[in-house]
Point group: C2
Chain length 467, copies 2
């Protein structure tokens, strides 16, 4: 049997398995789901074994686990590490979901559930590709290792230390990431860069308890006023981040890069109707794609304080809070950005209430990989054949923290292509994944592994130039 | 039996009745407690009847009801309307309460429960005073009517229309309010002014759903940024409200009034340790007491938007909201202030998200009454006798919406003294009422009613001067 036939004959069974996988509410951010993340790791381990992988293990990290497995029977051929994650984002606002987020529904060729596209559907693809090659051909064209983690959605806090201890276990020539996306249904894409990440929370302490706004209002600082003031000092009217030093390490966008970005299709009316806003807004002097792809950002992800119920309650509240994430570009350092933010909060807080900034777990160094790398070229060739169009090679605003960790700890680049689509509501209600993408991804992975077998280990490895 | 003896002999029974009253969770702001507000009105009606009042009725208002009753057997004597309210504030933050808010506990001469001081304990006082006079003397020194409402804590939204239809039922020469407070345990006070109130909510709509902050951050307006900016434009660094026209109708504080305020005891260290803040903050050029008593204020009472859970969620949220209340001083108009706020929001909102302002139910016109009024003089004499010190006559930052409604609809002033204390956590967790104040209040009410019997109806009525 050919691997193509194996894939075709088993597609509906694969969908049923994906449904089973998606039923596990493996939300990594919420401790009440710790057991579910663990159940998801067991599901993955068991599925790696039945696909024919060896040495399958669930490895403790101090936080959510990593699942590994390997197939190392292609002497002289490159060793490819395949990356994906089995944890998901939280589900709120839960009331905006059409169906419960962990009761997957297949409708019109799409599967709806939290994690369907980001990343369970995508990470299941290489497992199925490898199963199809082993069942049809009895061997793999390259050596393969898996690195499937359960903490991507909280910024992979334990993965850095874990990887530095497990370098030899995961040594490889190249990484393929099953977390990523396509450009459109008929156009693939390759990520040449992913933004870094710094996450913080600001807590403002006002009075020692919620006070009557008539009894105390106007005479002591309201922590919500102080927080609103602080947040309002983070951006200028020109959309630029006004934290001192924020852009110090950011290199100007090269004309070459601007040219590449201008060549990408962009329909402002589609962007507006997709997001539901009346106009775009961002840093002056940059296009929407430039803002998203190559400029650092600072977004407040949540805010709360005082009375939030129906009706009114005339309190001057004791506390107010905000969560903030910064997406960083090449050469920005997440630790340094956190310090700049802390200094900003210290300097700009209003008198009478105390604002403090604390670091949250998510952190990542920005990641960049050259388009000319043979790994990108191999993927590009296969994707071009499969879609009839070459992939757009882009930098994206998202973050996959392990990409820079694989570079620093394993000295390996990560080729990043996958089969999700921007409109599939990642991190939002009604997340879904196209089943056509699910099937096409399996074919693509088989072909990319075969194509990589024609590369030498040396050419895939990171070249250390100079000195 | 003398009325003093009746009160003394029945005090522990009264406390048990108060406990029963406080068990009813009559939170007027939350619709799930509508039935409880109704139960509280029945408790009050039944207690008026057993105290010996006639014509007791629960009157529908379109919202929470009003309970009335009367005793009109003192021909030629003034008719006094007694005001109080049987609804309470909500209880959140519930986790800061030592005991459940609707399971009253008596500890060290204090009774702890939501509504203990504001206002159930205080509004029960005149009922008990009247019962003691009727049981001991068989009659009352003046004519009495009751006006006990169930919607004070939400700003008495239906009371204006209700009162204008029921003018003759509640016609009177003077109102006594059982909602108010003492200055300290050994110093009474009289309210000469109460602030008005305008309440609004700002809703900011950004994208049509919560978006991935990596996929969209930096390219569209974040509604939290827009809201924070809007809120930061509401006050200047000098603590003044910067809404155009906000102060236009506010008269300068007279030197006489400043003098009276300076004469009030004020210990900044006590104010700081009571509120738990390190420094006071407010409008430049005014003392803490002036800010609280005679200057209008704008406070954000609550704010929310985006992710508020543990950990992090990298969203660019769809919406953000804030609740705001303004406390107004003489000549400011709550409707006009709401319009000024709406105009401010329209003018100062950032591009790319849509901010709208809607009026919330709480509204009240500022209330002022001259100290020289014979009603204030009568109360002052009795309180001076009882405490050994004359009352401080002050304006306060709080709002009792009916005071200005009684003035406009019934053409009657409201003398405002009561027995709560500032430190009794009105609107906060662990609200309590001193049982010594509960008992002293009953004595004071008996004496004030007797003292008012020496006033003529004419001198108590609002004098219409001029034209």
């Amino acid at each position: 049997m050919k691997w193509e036939t194996y894939l075709a004959e088993n597609q509906s069974g694969f969908v049923n398995e994906l449904i089973e996988f998606l039923r596990i509410p493996s939300v990594s951010a919420l401790s009440e789901h710790d057991g579910d993340v663990s159940r998801a790791s067991e599901w993955v381990a068991s599925r790696l074994r039945s696909a024919g992988l060896e040495g399958v293990e669930i490895l403790p990290t101090g936080g959510h686990p990593v699942v590994t497995g390997h197939h190392l029977h292609a002497p002289g051929k490159p060793t490819i590490l395949i990356y994906g994650h089995f944890d998901t984002q939280p589900v709120d606002p839960i009331d905006l979901w059409t169906d419960p987020p962990f009761e997957p529904k297949v409708k019109d060729g799409r599967i709806y559930a939290r994690g369907a596209s980001d990343d369970k559907g995508n990470m299941f693809i290489p497992i199925l590709a490898i199963e199809s090659l082993l069942r049809s051909e009895g061997s793999l064209p390259v050596n393969v290792k898996f690195f499937l983690e359960g903490q991507e959605e909280i910024g992979s806090p334990q993965i850095g230390e874990f990887l530095s201890k497990e370098r030899s276990r995961f040594s490889c020539d190249l990484v393929l990431s099953a977390d990523g996306c396509q450009w459109s249904e008929d156009r693939p894409c390759l990520f040449l860069g992913l933004k870094g990440l710094t996450e913080v929370q600001i807590d403002v302490q006002g009075p020692n308890r919620d006070l009557h706004s008539g009894g105390f209002g106007g005479a002591i600082q309201n922590p919500i006023h102080s927080l609103a003031h602080l947040l309002s000092t983070l951006h200028g009217e020109d959309g630029r981040v006004t934290v001192d030093g924020f852009y110090d390490r950011v290199k100007p966008v090269s004309e070459e890069e601007r040219e590449r970005i201008r060549a990408l299709p962009y329909q402002e009316d589609e962007f507006l109707s997709e997001t539901g806003v009346k106009e775009v807004f961002g840093e002056v002097g940059y296009s929407t794609h430039e803002r998203l792809m190559v400029r650092p950002t600072l977004e407040v992800n949540g805010i709360w304080g005082g009375f939030q119920g129906d009706g009114t309650k005339t309190v001057l509240p004791a506390k107010a809070h905000a969560k903030i994430s910064c997406r960083l570009v090449a050469d920005q350092d997440p630790d340094e950005i956190a310090e700049l933010l802390a200094r900003h909060v210290e300097r700009h807080q209003l008198p009478g209430a105390v604002a403090t900034l604390r670091r949250m777990v998510g952190t990542a160094t920005p990641y960049v990989m050259p388009f000319e790398h043979p790994g990108n070229q191999a993927a590009s060739e296969v994707l071009t054949e499969l879609y009839g169009h070459p992939p757009y090679a882009i930098k994206v605003g998202g973050t996959i923290p392990v990409t820079s960790l694989f570079l620093s700890e394993l000295n390996a680049y990560t080729v990043c292509f996958a089969f999700g689509l921007m409109d599939e509501n990642h991190h939002s209600p009604d997340e879904f994944f196209r089943l056509s993408s699910f099937a096409r991804g399996q074919t693509a992975y088989c072909k990319v592994l075969k194509r990589l077998a024609r590369c030498s280990t040396e050419e895939l490895q990171v070249q250390t130039h100079g000195v």
